[in-house]
């Protein structure tokens, strides 16, 4: 009984975190977008700089009608957003939020995350196929092509970290980086870990379908890509999954390269509570960087996208893993 309760609590905490974070980041995204363009953005809802606007948006989406297009595959259509969100939510299980809290302390944590996030591809393809809409299908196909090809550099750069840390357990990866700023993986084997981080960051950007890799939902070409036909809460699920994924890849970047819940000052400001603070703020920093990149860079063409993945990221990450592996053996 207590075990069941523990499991429930452990699963509810990441969900609550995702919901609160999604509301905060929706607001941040709009605000960053408007301030980058020298505008003000929301100013009314809730008083201070429209802080309640995402809540209002969410309530609006909740109260909207569910439209299922004619001739769509009903079961897949309803299942797709659930799978997309469930896949990114499931990956949160292996994220160590702090030294004492991790929902599932797997000794194959990294492998589990790589595997479970691949489920997103299936959900997206289901959504595109079942919508009975050419734009949805095109968007889904692009998305799948993109995610599948970018998974290789992502996995390779994660493997570089695994070589350095010598473990697949994310909690142990964090433990190995204890003791201040210069024990973080990013500063090991200079500059190869930094290159690995750059590759991981670019590839993860493509995996979560963010600009400049947002061709699956290219507004100017495909209406909205794979979620063109979705309304109401189902659409919100896709949205939530996108933002959950954004923090997921940022959190993994923080864990693998930037010490996870470790304080940058060694023993100073460390402990379970500070651990949550450091982990979340490191993650949010990368989410902020993703948002800034969205409002900085234009969208890539499909051939450019494939060029970046197969001709730049993959060969360099191969070379990188070789060099780091050799260095680690010789050391």
């Amino acid at each position: 009984m207590t075990e069941l309760l523990n499991m429930l609590i452990a699963s509810v905490i990441p969900l609550l975190f995702i919901l609160v974070y999604a509301i905060v980041i929706l607001w941040t995204e709009i605000k960053v977008a408007s301030h980058v363009q020298d505008r003000l953005g929301y100013m009314y809802t809730g008083g201070f700089h429209g802080w309640a606007q995402p809540i209002a948006d969410l309530l609006k989406l909740l109260s909207k009608e569910h439209i299922t297009p004619a001739n769509s595959d009903k079961i897949l259509f309803i299942l797709a957003p659930v799978i997309v969100f469930a896949a990114s939510y499931a990956a949160y299980a292996a994220l160590p939020f702090t030294s004492t809290f991790i929902a599932a302390n797997l000794n194959v944590g990294v492998f589990y995350i790589i595997a479970i996030t691949s489920f997103v591809v299936i959900g997206i393809l289901m959504a595109g196929w079942s919508s009975n809409n050419k734009y949805s299908l095109l968007g889904a196909m692009r998305s799948v092509a993109q995610i599948v090809s970018y998974e290789i550099p992502t996995a390779l750069s994660i493997l570089t970290v695994v070589i350095v840390a010598g473990t697949l357990n994310l909690q142990e990866v964090c433990e190995a980086q204890k003791g201040g700023l210069f024990n973080w993986n990013i500063f090991k084997y200079p500059p190869f870990m930094f290159i690995a981080f750059l590759i991981y960051f670019v590839a993860s950007l493509a995996e979560v379908n963010r600009t400049p890799f947002d061709i699956p939902e290219a507004e100017s070409e495909l209406v909205a890509g794979y979620h063109t036909e979705y309304t109401g809460m189902k659409f919100a699920m896709f949205y939530l999954a996108e933002y959950a994924n954004m923090f997921l890849v940022s959190g993994i970047a923080a864990i693998l390269f930037f010490g996870g819940w470790n304080s940058p000052f060694g023993e100073f400001m460390s402990g379970p509570a500070w651990g949550v603070f450091w982990f979340v703020s490191k993650g949010l920093l990368f989410v902020f960087l993703q948002i800034m990149l969205r409002w900085t860079l234009p969208r890539l063409r499909v051939d450019q996208l494939m060029y970046v993945s197969w001709k730049v990221l993959t060969p360099i990450s191969f070379a990188n893993i070789m060099i780091v592996g050799l260095w680690a053996i010789l050391k």
Partner: protein, 189 residues
């Protein structure tokens, strides 16, 4: 090969340049304003909603004639001799009752051509530009002091008066003719 690495470095460098630019713009003061709360000052001679100071109108209908889209409708009634309409603020004597002065602002093209011919400068453009309405008929502005009933009454009065005048005139020439007939050589010949 050299080209390949150069391209990668150029890509990374330009991303950083772009990020620096957007980051700078995060702290630039917004160029937009909170419109209904804050309003920009209009140019000095901005043309917006028309206004008629009906007290100064002498009913010359020059604005009606100048209007290229015929959005001004004026009806006037002559003042009776015993009625003094006073003078306008520019000193022109008013001789006509302006019983109807309607401007259909939905037709108005804000050219301002009606403003220039006005001898008393009573029709002019104001700086009011927020006058949307739910009903199109609300966009027809009535500037006259007369209600339609009063205008009708006035018209009838004047008609009555003119009729009386005519009667008098009709009577008078006869009287005159009678009186002057013997002493009028031209009529004879």
């Amino acid at each position: 090969m050299k080209e390949y690495f150069k391209n990668i470095f150029v890509a990374l460098w330009t991303i950083l340049v772009g990020l620096r630019l957007t980051f700078k713009h995060l702290f630039v003061r917004a160029v937009t304003i909170q419109y209904p709360d804050v309003k920009l000052k209009l140019p000095e001679r901005a043309r917006n909603r028309l206004y008629v100071n009906i007290d100064d109108c002498i009913g010359c209908k020059q604005c009606e004639m100048a209007c290229p889209v015929d959005c001004i409708t004026i009806e006037t009634v002559k003042a009776l001799p015993n009625e003094d309409l006073g003078v306008t603020s520019t000193g022109n004597k008013k001789r006509l009752w302006v019983t109807k002065f309607d401007i259909d602002i939905s037709k108005c093209c804000y050219c301002g051509l009606c403003v220039y011919p006005c001898p008393t400068e009573c029709i002019y453009m104001t700086d009011v530009y927020e006058f949307s309405e739910y009903n199109r008929h609300s966009l027809i502005y009535h500037f006259s002091n007369f209600t339609p009933e009063e205008a009708e009454l006035k018209k009838k009065q004047v008609e009555q008066f003119e009729l009386e005048q005519k009667m008098k005139k009709a009577v008078k020439p006869v009287e005159q003719a009678v009186a002057n007939n013997p002493a009028n050589p031209e009529e004879k010949s």
